[in-house]
Amino acid sequence: MATKLEEAVGIAPVLKDDISVMIGGQGGDGTLTVVNLLGRIFRDRGLYIYDARNVLSRIRGGHADGVIRASVKEIYSMGDQIDVLVAFDEEAVQAGLSELSENAVIIFDSSKGQLPDSYRKSSYLIYSAPLGNMAASELRRNIFKNTVAFAILGRVLGFEDKVLVDVLKARYERRGKEALESNLKALSIGLSFADKNVPSSRYSMAKGNSSGKILSTGNEATAFGFLVSGGRFFIGYPITPATDIMEWLAPRLPRFGGVVKQAEDELAVINMGIGAAYAGARVMVATSGPGQSLMTEGVGHAGESEIPIVVVECQRVGPSTGEPTKNEQSDLNHVVYSSHGEFPRLVVAPATAGECFTMSVQAMNLAEQYQLPVFILLDQALCQNSACIDPFDIGSVKIERGKLLTEEELLRLSYYKRYQFTEDGISPRSIPSTEGGQSQVTGNEHNELGLVSTDKTNRLKMMHKRMSKLEHAKRDLPRGVNFGNSNAKIGIIGFGSTYGPIREAMVQLSKGGIDVKYHQIRTIWPILEDDLRAFLDSLSTVFVIENNYQGQLAALIRSSIKEKSGIVESITKFDGTSFKPKEIANAVSSYLSGKIEK
């Protein structure tokens, strides 16, 4: 809404239907709170939001920022640039510098000194104020600087004061009178500054129609999917970025008679999970790379003993301790190949919070139907970034428990053998307390009765039995999804959180005259060759986009569809951050133009 002054001089706010705001400072500066407040305002205007946290593996101090993007369109990615940067120190400006748009607005906390000239590009609009000192002098605590900044930010974005007050009230009302009063005071300090120093709003925000959508991270959705699938027992060990799943379930599973148990290490986690699943509970465990390394033996044990369990791997930068809070997709090989010996496992890869929910249910059903370990492969960005999605459709959830025998069914059998040879490789399963189902389960190679056996004929049959599950499961595994013009000659393949950046890159490429189709692969193992072959069929080049060094998915595709391995090119990023849409678009177009020039 233009003020009279603005109208008089003809400076009207720029209407934005897509904006990215970064709030940065030291850990503990309250940057994430501002992101949350902004998110609420954007959503109340019907905009879709996507937010990401950039934090270090520590509690206080060190650079931390949150980025929030708002759009009239559905989004699953950060944009290509930052439009507004709120920086509580110089380090935050440094961190955001390379991403700032040409005409970016910077709100800078000058408490520790003015922003050096080297940052002051003439095209930027810089509002400088000693935010920390302002908060400290009037409220005695520096921490309220985030609300002071929020006020200025609100003016820059063209929000009415009432909107800012309302969202603060909604947040702080339940946290006590003092918290609310202090924050309202901090807001008024910021607004007074803005009255004098921010003559007009740089932006005004469009309105959208995202009402009815919910906000969720991948972790929350995965956890909720587990619960709705009938999951009742979650065993975990704290590890970034998987801990949120345990923490979401901890207060909620008990309401359904379930339990969240924190075990002493990941060895206990996977084995406790195996015991509980053996006894008949639906079980999920969740971890990241380091924990998955520890669970490796257990996963093989579940595969050999044919015990159903869902294992969520929330990938982060590796190897070893790596970068706990940063994004990577380098454990694909780990979940597909690791553990000694050969046994069947399934690996599914959702790409959005909505898919995290549906595929969490699907994974649990697959685990029990095929009696094996099923991995849900997530990555830190998918786990912890929030996006607006359709409300989860609980009514359409189906529970499939496979060949789990009731006492009546057992009584009708003349001979119950836990590892009976069957056409589809799946034996009937009974759980303890069922009469007639007494049986032996072991990780040793065994005969149909579960007794240890090294008999050669038995070994061949048992290996076929178990491994054949992979082929049979293909009919039930989540298929890939194709986007774009099916006649395009250029293809893109990706999994997990590259989904958002890829879809936006496709739009950019299309505008540049490059027609691309995209195969969002959703089952990593076994590879659904028919789907892939059909997608690769007409392509001259396919770019496999992934956040790892070696191009793990590309290698898997090359080895699965050998006749097409020559057209597979890798586009990788492994600096701990997600792809930007333009990075993908540029990589594709420069490859293609380089190729043409040859």
Binding site: F233, Y416, S433, G437, Q440, L449
Partner: protein, 286 residues
């Protein structure tokens, strides 16, 4: 007509193995207590003694090496109405499984844990285990004592040691351990001196050294500190304390953890039953 299922097999142990004594006492205890086989789960560890789950007619599961306690605890929490008996060797339990051992003692789950202790890894042909004496097969470390360790952990509720050479005491201790667990009083920990006749035949030596504290007139089973002191005293005299060394009253893991009387493994998880309550949770996703 009942369904035919897998039958218990003959043990793989050498003639004279102490584990035969454990098996015999365990069978006797289960029969005398009238525990149904369908409700019994024996979790075996890796090693000679861990194969015991094959030698009983009930549900049996072979865990990974060192992981039988988390496996057994997972089973118990999923369905606490089961009688869960974990049984393995001391290499499995005190070496690779030591971390889980400590936490099981701390958690006090209502399961029975029988450790067949023989100072060696029999199945891999005689390497020293954590309870081996210095000098055995190149071992340079003093032996680990699980009884003192268990006494030192606050939440333990049943600590006993038996001997394969004393069947009646062993059967009695196994019965008491099962009753303790099945009455939801917590972790029935029973170490059994179970000699490996092939690699570390300690029958004769142990017969001379065992000392039954239950036979002592003024032995107080309920005093943790006194039990620790008496056990240490006896050990300094070269004796091995046996019997029911400590019984305490502490909340079991299930009491502290489970949120419903209905076992998680047997719940009705259908969408119809739970749909409206799931939909309430959608509010958490504004």
């Amino acid at each position: 007509m009942t369904t035919k299922t897998v039958q218990a097999t003959t043990p793989i142990w050498c003639p004279g193995c102490g584990d035969f004594g454990v098996l015999a006492s365990l069978k006797k205890a289960l029969v005398e207590l009238g525990i149904k086989s369908k409700d019994t789960v024996v979790v075996g560890g890796i090693g000679c003694s861990g194969s015991i789950h094959n030698n009983l007619d009930c549900y049996g599961i072979h865990s990974l090496h060192g992981r039988l306690l988390p496996t057994a605890i997972g089973i118990k929490l999923a369905n606490p109405e089961l009688t869960v008996i974990a049984a393995g060797g001391d290499g499995d339990g005190y070496a690779i499984g030591a971390g889980h051992f400590i936490h099981a003692l701390k958690r006090n789950p209502s399961i029975v844990y029988i450790v067949m202790q023989n100072g060696t890894y029999g199945l891999t042909k005689g390497q020293p285990s954590p309870t081996a004496v210095p000098g055995y097969e190149g071992n340079v470390e003093p032996p680990f004592d699980a009884i003192l360790t268990a006494l030192s952990i606050q939440n333990t509720s049943f600590i006993a040691r038996g001997f394969s050479g004393n069947q009646s005491q062993l059967t009695d201790l196994i019965k008491k351990a099962i009753l303790h667990a099945n009455e939801r009083k917590g972790f029935g920990f029973l170490e059994v001196l179970s000699p490996c006749v092939t690699y570390n035949d300690t029958y004769k030596e142990w017969r001379e050294r065992v000392f039954n504290v239950d036979a002592e007139k003024d032995y107080d089973q309920h005093n943790r500190l006194l039990a620790f002191t008496r056990a240490s005293q006896l050990m300094s005299e070269g004796k091995i304390p046996t019997g029911l060394l400590y019984v305490g009253s502490n909340n079991s893991l299930e009491t502290n953890t489970l949120t419903s009387k209905e076992p998680m493994a047997l719940q009705d998880i259908s969408i119809e039953k739970n749909k409206s309550r799931y939909e309430e949770l959608l509010r958490d996703f504004r």
